[in-house]
């Protein structure tokens, strides 16, 4: 049970304190099922060091996602507040913010404060209903700032519509951090009877900070989109390094499975340009390898690209910056166009799906409006259409499926992955809830790669907590370490977040809960593979 704690009010966001507004304690956290029900109580995140506290803003919850430096003096504070206000004006202007003006205004104006959305939010629920993480907390604060400082409809109306927020530096600093306590999973928006989208409001806040004030997490901006635009991939992989990796993949296939495959690279006029999250090459090379084995076995006309921007599907701009988003999307499509392929196919990367296939749809004009689709329908055709020789018995272990928000709730690709798993995994079981109702992995919107100070701990113990609970509940009858279990997460970022929660709770060592992508299971079921594709080696 959570201990009695002070109720946080909207106006508390403006309080000037040395201590954070809240600190989530072990007692607050949503309990976990076995085997983690007996876990000793441990604070979800460590306090920042005195030096960190002195240098960086952490007055929201004692966590720093942004490493936002504290202003040196009053003048600097005032300047920053003025810039925030100017950004807010732009956010609300049709001219300046045409890409998202309409859904933003709709979300701001339609909320009836019924709080139906609160219980839908994994962060709010996992943290033991911390007021500041309630989906509407940041939105209502923004609404009231707009009321008081932008709309200016006279004293009485302002008072009646809520004028209790003081726009000062603590408010701005806390809002900046708060925009990074929401994974943009939009489960709350799905739940809202009025169609108000608190996830979008969170994203627009991030955008204001980035596009107007140059404030964004280093992992998303400097070593994310900026690096991608400079060298071609957010992982920093250069074109030459990529080509080396392809050779390594070919050797690996030969060595392990005795097949010599020539992985097509830069093949002009191929039907398909397959584009992976480059993190796969760094952390889960077995995923692009499985794609290559499957596509070759099915005799597809396909290629990878070694051209700068052509071997990276990520686009972190999706989460925080329209301009960076557009720049990257255009670069990626340009590669496909030059290569004269028939279509681009996204590999196992959720936000690349949503970003390039859906959102970018309305910035790609004329010849840049290039055919783009998910790997899932294609893989379904191969698996269920009999193009591959498969033996489901090779996958005879419990498997569950995580639904990446970007692919499922935000794009409506719900069934192909299930039809594939039903076909090749005799012990496939759904987690609850699943499909469009499933919870975020906790690593959404960039969290999976954000590791600033104590943010990683916050993610593992709060934003990913609901996913951890779901996984344990799904496997509760097979927790025995003698039974290997597989969490299938067909998205690179989700995979990273799930790896981290399994590993920090020793669930592989103690309970044999493993994780991986979808194509690995398909390759594992292929009849003519001399040895099992999945090697159950933790990484």
């Amino acid at each position: 049970m959570a201990t009695e704690r002070k109720k946080i009010r909207l106006k508390d966001i403006s309080i000037r304190t040395d201590e954070p507004l809240i600190t989530v304690t072990a007692d607050d956290l949503m309990p976990l099922p076995p085997p983690l029900d007996q876990q000793g109580k441990k604070a979800p995140y460590s306090p920042l060091s005195e030096n960190q506290k002195k240098s960086f803003e952490c007055s929201l919850d004692g966590v720093s996602a942004l490493a936002l430096p504290k202003p040196k003096n009053k003048e600097e504070e005032e300047k920053l507040v003025a810039r925030f206000l100017s950004g807010l004006r732009k956010l609300l202007s049709q001219n300046d913010n045409w890409p998202f003006w309409q859904p933003l205004i709709q979300s701001l104006e339609s909320c009836v404060r019924c709080q139906t959305c609160s219980d839908a939010c994994p962060v709010y629920v996992s943290s033991g209903n911390q007021e500041i993480y309630r989906p509407t907390y940041k939105s209502e604060i923004l609404r009231r700032i707009i009321n008081k400082y932008i709309k200016k409809r006279g004293k009485i109306i302002t008072k009646l519509t809520g004028d209790d927020i003081k726009l000062n530096w603590p408010t701005v600093a806390r809002l900046a951090e708060l925009a990074y306590r929401c994974t943009l999973c939009r489960r709350c928006a799905q739940r809202c009877p009025l169609g108000s989208d608190n996830g979008l409001i969170g994203r627009e806040l991030r955008k204001l900070f980035s596009q107007e004030m140059g404030i964004a997490p280093k992992e998303l901006h400097d070593s994310g989109t900026v690096q991608q635009l400079k060298v071609g991939a957010s992982t920093g992989i250069s074109s030459a390094a990529f080509q080396g990796m392809v050779e390594f993949m070919e050797d690996e296939i030969e060595e392990k499975w005795g097949k010599r495959i020539k992985i097509p690279v830069d093949k002009e006029g191929a039907d398909i340009l397959l584009i992976h999250n480059s993190g796969e090459f760094m952390s889960w090379i077995e995923n692009p390898v499985a794609f290559a084995i499957i596509f070759e076995a099915a005799g597809l006309s396909w290629t990878l690209s070694s051209e700068i921007y052509g071997y990276e599907a990520t686009n972190y701009g999706t989460w925080y910056d329209d301009v960076q988003f557009a720049r990257i999307a255009l670069k990626q499509v340009e590669v496909a166009r030059k290569l004269k392929v028939k279509k681009m196919v996204m590999g196992e990367c959720g936000h690349a799906h949503k970003g390039l296939i859906v959102i970018a749809d309305r910035i790609l004009m004329d010849e840049m409006n290039f055919p783009r689709e998910s790997f899932l329908p294609l893989l379904e055709e191969l698996v269920c259409g009999g193009k591959l020789r498969l033996d489901p018995q090779k996958n005879n272990f419990p498997v569950t499926l995580h639904d990446p928000c970007n692919v499922v709730r935000l794009m409506g690709i719900v069934e192909p992955q299930r039809r594939i798993l039903r076909k090749i995994c005799p012990q496939f079981r759904e987690m609850e809830p699943h499909g469009v109702e499933n919870y975020c992995c906790g690593g959404g919107s960039g969290f999976a790669i954000m590791n600033s100070m104590n943010f990683k701990e916050w993610r593992e113990n709060i934003s990913s907590r609901m996913k951890l609970k779901q996984i344990l509940e799904t496997f509760n009858d097979v927790l025995d370490s003698g039974i290997r279990k597989y969490v299938c997460a067909p998205c690179s970022n989700c995979k990273g977040a799930i790896r981290d929660i399994l590993s920090s709770n020793d669930l592989w060592e103690k309970n044999s809960i493993y994780y991986g992508g979808l194509v690995e299971l398909v390759a594992n079921a292929m009849v003519d593979m001399k040895r099992p594709y999945i090697d159950w080696e933790w990484h």
């Binding site: 709709q106 301009v323 409006n369 469009v436």
Partner: protein
């Protein structure tokens, strides 16, 4: 005078509502930002050649939602118990007024007096029940209270007063309303008060959430699942926006240039953020 205010408020309502609808319809086309309740066209290979949901389906779904408040029913039943009578009450009161005005010309006063009263009272009762329930919830539930702006705590009692007053005039002056208002245009005091309150309500309505409920279903908003194809209207509208200047000030944006240039040409090096 009172009729002047009343008809003025109707005119105000129509103009203000039209302006809000215009604001919504003429909004710049936004990027494709969708949510799905289930499978979409992206489950198909080469989805761009295949059909999306039909308008008819969306319309039907919208009608069911508005009639039954299905989403509240499924997701927040406690609220629905009060919200639904309130909405049904309001819908039937609107119909009641239309029927009453229409009936004045063609139906006998006796008929109107019996059935009109009954209908009116039931609708008023439902609405009143809803209002009281919602108000109590809003006052008692701490989670609801801290987010609810003060204006709404005036709105609900005000609506209740209008209803009580309407009940009073229909119950005791029904014949008079009928004669005075519709045939001779000389309303009595009770009716005058009702008309005055109703005028305030009409002025408030275009700014209320009721309008939002409809906007939510605006075709291009909630379910704007229309892909952009070459040479389409969507493409034409987006192209206009791409010619607008980018005004955001962070150093990496390259403010001042047009969207098209900012997105496609990276002439100056991109600076890193803070």
């Amino acid at each position: 005078m009172i009729l002047f205010i009343f008809y003025g408020s109707i005119l105000f309502f129509i103009i203000a509502a039209a302006l809000r609808v215009r604001r919504c319809v003429s909004a710049p086309i936004h990027l494709h930002w969708e949510l799905y309740k289930g499978s979409s066209v992206y489950e198909l290979t080469e989805w761009w050649g295949k059909t999306h949901n039909t308008f008819g389906e969306k319309l039907w779904s919208m009608i069911l939602d508005l009639l039954f408040l299905r989403e509240f029913y499924h997701r927040n039943r406690n609220f629905w118990y009060f919200l639904y009578p309130f909405h049904i009450g309001i819908y039937s009161l609107v119909l009641w007024h239309a029927w009453f005005l229409f009936g004045a010309k063609v139906i006998s006063i006796e008929f109107l007096s019996i059935w009109g009263r009954l209908w009116g009272h039931v609708a008023t009762g439902l609405t009143f029940f809803g209002i009281v329930g919602i108000f109590i919830k809003r006052v008692k539930d701490e989670d609801l209270k801290i987010y609810y702006p003060p204006i709404h705590y005036l709105k609900w009692p005000f609506l209740a007063v209008i209803l009580l007053e309407a009940f009073y005039s229909v119950q005791f002056y029904f014949g008079d309303i009928f004669e005075d208002l519709l045939l001779e245009f000389h309303p009595n005091v009770a009716t005058k008060a009702h008309l005055l309150f109703a005028s305030v309500l009409l002025i408030y309505l275009p700014f209320s959430h009721i309008m939002q409920l409809f906007f939510r279903y605006y075709h291009y908003l909630r379910w704007d699942d229309v892909p952009n194809v070459r040479g389409s209207e969507i493409e034409r509208r987006i192209k206009e926006h791409l010619e607008r200047p980018v005004t955001w000030s962070a150093p990496h944006i390259q403010s001042g240039k047009r969207w098209r240039e900012v997105a496609s040409k990276l002439e100056c090096p991109i600076t890193e953020g803070k």
